[in-house]
Assembly symmetry: C2
Homo-oligomer: 110 residues x 2
Amino acid sequence: MEDKLSQTFAALADPTRRALLAQLSQGEANVSDLAKPFLNDMSLPAITKHLKVLEKAGLITKTREAQWRPCKLNGEAFKEVADWMEQYRIFWEESFDRLEAYLKTVTSEK
Amino acid sequence: MEDKLSQTFAALADPTRRALLAQLSQGEANVSDLAKPFLNDMSLPAITKHLKVLEKAGLITKTREAQWRPCKLNGEAFKEVADWMEQYRIFWEESFDRLEAYLKTVTSEK
DNA sequence: TTTATATTTAACCTAAAGGTTAATTAACTA
DNA sequence: TAGTTAATTAACCTTTAGGTTAAATATAAA
């Protein structure tokens, strides 16, 4: 078995799943709605599996409403990722500062 | 082939690799230094592989110094993750607010 | 030039990830 | 009850991930 954070990162490591999350950031949606944009590229069962990965990782919550399964984002899992990331903020901000400084030099060059 | 962000998330989806990053957040280190805490659990080649995954994901940079290979964190890749996360901030802050509100109710209960 | 230290590469193994198609379950509707 | 829509499960396949041990390479030091 795998630790929670690894599971969450693994869930995020797939473009289809990130696209599903992006859809859900616009609001609740059921499985076939979510699947629609992908059905040229993959089957419905594939989407079911992706959603299950997201659900196990805690990134989404699936409920029941008649024959539909409305899904919505679940903030807590995102928070755990954000919290872990926090300890590295100093590193990415530092490299952002370097970029900013560099841009300043090239734009003032004229 | 895989997109960059997926590669980065996949690299983060392993506790050994996250521990390697944590070590590197304390400063540069070479491969055998980094490997030391893990050698009870896995071999040196395993660490070499993990470091290669981190390097391909852009999370670390490996240089050469005599027979050593000093590694250091690379802020840019962290920034890309942080930037992607940003669009979900509203969701995790909202759930944090709910938690905060809940904690307020239980602590005032006495 | 031999030896020691640091690291990587090669060849292999097993389990899991991500997809498929076909069959099944669940709930509504005529 | 039969049919339709929504979603899942089962059985399968192929590729990749993460580990191993043994051998190879790179650099320094004796």
